[in-house]
């Protein structure tokens, strides 16, 4: 059972790298959805074993992150009719290298956080931290509002992965509350993206900083 958690974390790490390198927005949304479903599988393989609580949580996370969020975002890009992230602040090849560096950094941090942990927990911690880093990096290095929303979602994925894989004692209500928060946030962001694109004919968040009050 523990092997499965490791495999899921490896999937997260690979998806992080793929997100760093892909420019197509629809592809990015698909990758984030894959990451969400992978995270949804985590409670099923929790250290405590299979439980009704784990199953409920898995179903909620997978449906919300794997189906509902991607559909909201797909609707948003259809409304804004953008397909690609062009000219990010950091190029794709360089982003990929930074992604690898962040992964190495998170392995190092993971060791520092739990010095006595054995191999399995290290990759779990590192996978979660690297996902948070990837989300942050996407937010600061991309121009399009949609990619920044994706970055937020990836960061949330990382935090959820941390909670689901490492701390299994969080009450179900709190987990569901966090999910609801994330849902409302994505919902509002999708609406805002639609409004930005209708008002300005683009969703380039960088240009918004030149607006005068």
């Amino acid at each position: 059972m523990h092997g499965m958690t490791e495999n899921i974390m490896a999937v997260l790490l690979v998806v992080n790298l793929a997100l760093m390198a892909s420019s197509r927005l629809a592809g990015c949304i698909g990758l984030v959805a894959l990451q969400g479903i992978a995270i949804g599988l985590l409670p099923l393989f929790a250290p405590g074993g299979f439980s009704a609580r784990g199953f409920l949580l898995a179903a909620f996370v997978a449906v919300l992150k794997g189906i509902v969020f991607p559909r909201l975002l797909h609707n948003a890009i259809r409304g804004a009719s953008v397909r690609r992230e062009v000219e990010p602040f950091v190029g794709y090849g360089f982003s990929l290298i930074i992604g690898v560096a962040l992964t190495i950094l998170s392995f190092w941090l993971g060791t520092g956080l739990l010095p006595s942990s054995h191999g399995n927990e290290r990759i779990v911690l590192a996978g979660a931290i690297a996902t948070v880093f990837t989300g942050l990096f996407l937010i600061v290095s991309r121009r399009k509002a949609l990619t920044q929303v994706l970055g937020y979602l990836v960061m949330e994925n990382g935090i959820a992965a941390f909670g689901l894989a490492v701390v299994s004692e969080i009450p179900l209500l709190i987990e569901l509350g966090i999910l609801l928060d994330a849902f409302v946030a994505i919902f509002v962001m999708a609406i805002i993206i639609y409004h930005i694109s209708r008002e300005f004919d683009h969703i380039d968040a960088d240009q918004l900083s030149t607006l005068k009050g």
Partner: protein, 303 residues
């Protein structure tokens, strides 16, 4: 030096062009054609060997030496590659570096011969080949480092053969990452789609074919055989990762390995039929991705 090792080496020499045939038949199958015969590559090589060579007046001995030298390099490299459970003819501690650099020598000879013609067209191809190879090499060598670290064995034969048995249950990600990285290297180094299309002579995107345009006759036969052998060497690395040493003895294991090579060729053909070639600007990015897969695998085994 035992008879099985020699047999494995000779079988690899003979069977290498068959990979091209399998790839072409797979592509024909996807296109709904019958396709060329399975042994077309052999016919091509024998046909070319019977012809005479034509040399431009501007070329020097470098150009003439290119094809035999690059073939010699890859023949040497093949000596260190195991044939499934049958160990390589030679092996010593650290020979994986030699294999990687023998492939580098092969590339150097091809590139030099291309530059010697003085054609800007071939120089362009040479530049691309070297650029992509420089990016593919870290992925290959870091992947080797993963295997060496896992098995604690520095020779290619020993490390590849004990890799499958050294893996624990939790290390599936390592194998998958390594396979992904080496598969990309395999396709890139052998100039297959998505990196280069061996069938077109479109100057905007050609890499390997453009470098060998001025070779003809026996020289071209040597180049084609050498390319097939290079494909065998890199393919054998990938397949050896997957094929564990089975209990059925060396003959059965060698059979499984041969089947694995043909399956790899079929997989390459499937990739070529279902994917479009990347824009040239995207190629380095994919190679960097292969390198980062290798680094990730290395991180996973280093803990």
């Amino acid at each position: 030096m035992s008879i099985e090792k020699i047999c494995g080496y000779l079988l690899a020499l003979v069977a290498a062009p068959l990979l091209l045939g399998v790839i072409n038949r797979t592509k024909a199958f996807f296109a709904g054609r019958r396709g060329q015969p399975l042994f077309q590559a052999y016919h091509d090589i024998f046909k070319l060997l019977r012809k005479g060579a034509v040399y431009s007046t501007t070329v020097t001995a470098v150009f003439r030496a290119g094809p035999p030298a690059s073939l010699a390099a890859v023949l040497l490299a093949l000596l260190f590659v195991p044939f499934g459970p049958v160990p390589a003819v030679f092996s010593f501690q650290g020979d994986f570096l030699l294999v990687a650099y023998l492939l580098g020598v092969m590339r150097f000879c091809t590139v030099n011969a291309a530059m010697d013609t003085g054609s800007s067209f071939e120089g362009m191809g040479a530049s691309r080949e070297v650029q992509f190879a420089a990016l593919a090499e870290p992925a290959l060598l870091l992947g080797m480092a993963v295997i060496v670290r896992t098995t604690g064995n520095l020779s290619l034969s020993g490390a590849l053969q004990s890799f499958a048995s050294c893996l624990t249950t939790g290390s599936a990600p390592v194998t998958i990452l390594l396979l992904a990285a080496w598969m990309i290297v395999f396709l890139a180094e052998n100039s297959r789609i998505p990196f280069d299309d061996p069938n077109t002579h479109l100057e905007l995107t050609m890499i390997h074919e453009v470098m060998v345009l001025d070779h003809g006759g026996p020289d071209f036969a040597l180049i084609q055989w050498g390319a097939a052998l290079k494909m065998w060497v890199l393919g054998a690395l990938v397949v050896n990762l997957l094929v564990p040493s089975v209990a059925g003895g060396e003959i059965a294991g060698a059979g499984i390995f041969l089947g694995g090579m043909l399956a790899l060729a079929a997989a390459a053909g499937t990739v070529e039929s279902t994917m479009a070639r990347f824009r040239l600007l995207r190629v380095p990015q994919l190679l960097v991705a292969a390198g980062s897969f290798s680094i990730l695998a290395l991180i996973l085994v280093l803990r």
